[in-house]
């Protein structure tokens, strides 16, 4: 589903959203607890917010406030202990493993702080990985992988392995991989966390381009520049939403 | 000692009078102790177990299969003893029975007249052996004398072939075990890469790190060797128990000698420590951040 198709499906006209249309993301009373040895850690203690299709939302807060936990729930990588997470009308927290896996593969693109590229594959092969899993034919996925690498400015580096790429280049490959199956939603966990200021700015520009083309972006970040690049900011503290700067 | 080797048929008899042909030859010779009517023989344990005979039982020995007990080549004997087979590897697979009887008895039953197959001669010392050997062969009454040692060498050829076969199999299994050991130790050290990275980042020297890993590998090898020795010993007990039962022999089929144990332990220690050292050295030379995967 392309961003435009999704926008049409959920009734959004432009990137700012149409008042009254159902949101792309609806988080309602979400709590998440972890057991750490003898203790229970309450990572999220009742978080609720909506995100319209085509929005760029930054989630900020001090370390341990639950930002990454929230991202994992949105990406169906984890399940809430209580509450619901709905994306495009589907209750992501109630999905079984197979449905959640398919959701991650086709609906969401995930960008991690540490890139998480496969070290033994080339840049192009890393981008091809989700398409291969989705059953895309070899010729088609190779062509699309090249197209995505060109989009992120790494066409000449397609045969290089991650160890041969700089941090910024690795993150761009990771973004290209996240876009492989044309997800409507891009989730990024500290995408500039491992990068210097100049490289970080390049990544922010890239995300900006994607947002302008209609991709809904949700980033978790400590980076003030990145937090300001989007239109909306949610401040979190101690597992709760402290402030929502719409 | 003279020996006649022949095949006899054995038929049991319950009580009764001794068969014909048991007339004593010695009665005609004054001064010689009379031969009893029913003479004793010794049979091997297999025959005892398979026929179910006991000490004192009487059986009829037939020189020719199918003959009746009244035949001229038949003799009623009494079982006076049971004999255990020696641990002779060349006889392990032979399922034949053994009966020991008086020489003249067998000569008569086998229609051998006054002949034997071979003599065994005991001499005073090795010099005497050589003199007797020379003298007998020179006389050349249609037979040859051989040293027992030479006979043993020739007749143990089967055993030597088996020994060579076992050695070849042993080499192959040692190679397989060595490769397996090397692989496992390599994996074991590789598993510790993050610990090594952390130690190096803390400032621990390469030498200390390598030493620690080699010590670990040595302990694992030592423990493994001890366990292996125990398992090997237990398995040899099992092998001997089983095959001694199958072949009905006291022969030992497998033996863990001090030499074998030393060889096994030395080899496994050498391989374990060697593999551990090589893997540890390679890891210690890698940059710590690279070990973390960065």
């Amino acid at each position: 589903m392309t961003p435009q198709e999704l926008a049409d499906a959920v009734g959004v006209v432009d990137g700012a959203g149409r008042r009254g249309a159902p949101p792309l993301i609806r988080v309602a009373g979400v709590e998440r607890d972890y057991r750490m040895g003898e203790e229970t850690v309450h990572a999220l203690r009742g978080v609720s917010f909506d995100v319209a299709a085509g929005e760029w939302l930054a989630v900020v807060g001090p370390s341990g406030c639950g930002k990454s936990t929230l991202l994992n729930l949105l990406g169906a990588v984890d399940r809430p202990s209580r509450g619901t997470v709905r994306i495009a009308g589907e209750d992501v927290g109630a999905m079984d493993d197979r449905a959640a896996t398919s959701f991650r593969l086709r609906r969401v693109g995930f960008v991690f702080q540490r890139f998480y590229l496969m070290p033994m594959l080339t840049a192009r092969e890393n981008v091809e990985l989700p398409m291969a899993e989705a059953g895309v034919g070899r010729a088609e996925r190779q062509a699309r992988a090249r197209e995505l690498l060109a989009y992120v400015g790494l066409a000449p580096r397609e045969r290089h392995r991650p160890a041969q790429l700089s941090g910024g280049e690795q993150q761009r490959v990771a973004i290209a991989r996240a876009l492989a199956n044309r997800p409507a939603l891009l989730l990024a966990d500290e995408p500039t966390g491992e990068l210097d200021a100049r490289t970080g700015a390049e990544i922010i520009d890239l995300l900006g381009r994607l947002h302008a083309e209609g991709t809904t972006i949700l980033v978790v970040t400590h980076d003030e520049t990145l937090a300001q690049a989007g239109g909306r900011r949610i401040h979190m503290r101690d597992g709760l939403v402290e402030r929502d700067d719409k | 000692m003279a020996r006649v080797l022949g095949a006899l048929a054995v038929a049991p008899v319950l009580g009764g009078a001794p068969g014909p042909g048991a007339a004593s030859v010695a009665e005609a010779q004054p001064g010689v102790r009379p031969i009893p009517a029913v003479r004793g023989v010794a049979v091997d344990e297999r025959l005892r177990d398979d026929l179910g005979v006991c000490l004192g039982d009487r059986v009829v020995l037939l020189g020719r299969p199918g003959d009746g007990r009244d035949s001229a080549l038949a003799d009623t004997v009494r079982i006076d003893a049971f004999v255990r087979r020696g641990a002779d590897p060349s006889e392990v697979a032979r399922a034949e029975y053994r009966v020991r009887l008086h020489l003249d008895q067998l000569q008569r039953l086998a229609a051998y007249d006054n002949r034997v197959d071979r003599f065994a001669v005991a001499t005073r010392d090795s010099a005497a052996t050589e003199r007797v050997l020379g003298a007998v062969n020179e006389a050349a009454f249609g037979f040859r004398a051989h040293r027992s040692r030479d006979v043993a060498v020739r007749t143990s050829r089967t055993f030597q072939v088996v020994q060579r076969f076992h050695r070849a199999i042993g080499v192959i299994t040692v190679v397989a075990s060595a490769v397996f050991l090397l692989c496992i130790l390599l994996l074991k050290v590789d598993e510790r890469r993050r610990d090594v990275a952390a130690l190096r980042l803390m400032g621990i020297s390469r030498r200390t790190v390598v030493g620690a890993l080699v010590l670990e590998a040595s302990l694992v090898s030592l423990l493994g060797s001890a366990l292996g020795l125990g398992v090997g010993w237990a398995v040899t007990q099992g092998i001997n128990w089983y095959y001694q039962g199958v072949y009905r022999t006291p022969l030992l089929f497998a033996l863990v000698t001090p030499g074998v144990a030393l060889f096994a332990v030395t080899l496994s220690l050498a391989l374990g420590v060697g593999a551990g050292f090589l893997a540890a050295r390679r890891m210690a030379r890698t940059a710590p951040l690279a070990l973390f995967g960065r």
Partner: protein, 402 residues
Amino acid sequence: MRLALAAATLLRHRTRTLLAVLGVAVSAALLLDMVMLAGGMRESFRDLLLVRGYQLRLSPKGTLPFDSDATMERAAALLAAVRADPRIVAVSPILGGQLHVLGAAPDGGESGPAATAFAMGLDARVQGDYELVRGRHAVAGAELVASPAFLRATGAGVGDTLDVAAGFDPQLRQYAGRCRAVVVGEGRFFYTPGEQPVAALPLATLQAMRGEEGRDRLSLVMARVADGADVEQVRAELQRRVPRVSAISTATALAQVEQRLSYFRQLAFILGAISLAIGFLLVTTLVTVSVNERVGEIAVLRAIGVSRAHVVQQIVLEGSALSLAGAALGLALGLVTARYLNAILGDFPGLPAAFAFFVFRPIDAWRALGLLVLSGVLAGVYPSWRAASLPIATTLREEAVG
């Protein structure tokens, strides 16, 4: 893509992969050898027994053919009893004994035997003991067919005449019979060791040469049963009619030889089982360690949407690749070591030259190696499933990758 990923993963740690493949190869070689040994002896011996189609053998009571020097008396009556059975279509009588080739002393007199051979008195029309290589059969009178070892030992060739004697009495130092025999042919003898000099003479000739010890006597009678007849039934009937001999069918002979060589079969089974276990353990250990090292990568794969089943497939593919490569290498290695081991065991004294301990049968080899590859496949299932089932978020947090 999965194949590329598996190959890339294996090549990442070349030394480890190479060692694992080597380990599996040696296990595969040993397993193959043991399978060849377990079935080989039986197959080889059966082929040997049936080389000329004789399914029954009659030997002195309680013995296997040529197990001892014993002979069967009243040979003519015995042969008549055997031939009386209409189900028996061919009968080959054989008398064995020692044959001495006499040399000439320097003074023109007679010296001791220049060579001693094992002699077989046969009926050339029905014999089943040798295959003629050169010349013709010894059909009558003073003729013989010699083995290559006999010709080497005597320095004779086909067409030469030799002074031969049999029935030596060591006390009188006399031979019971002697003659000047012509070497009319060279033969490959099936049942005697390759290095033993062997000569085949007409039965009547050898019987006469052996004197009293050979008159109306035979060492062995081979019989061929008509197609469709029950061999065991014929054997049982013969045994009943002639109780003074032992009637042995191919099946009985096989069973008796198997019993004598059971040690090798059991050794083969035990070593084969151990090889399989070692191969399985090696691949299991390697895959387990490899998976444990890549738990983070596996979590990333799961995070980007690769299903659990595909992760398991991926890892099982790696284990299979190791096993396949090892099995292929092991096949070649196994054939080489089998030849070497066969040569060692071929030194057994008295073993027929045509007998082999290790016999390669493709079906056995594929079964054995297939079992090893299957064990390699299974080795990866549990560790990979376990790793693919770990909670993604926790694993990502704990296992930093990249």
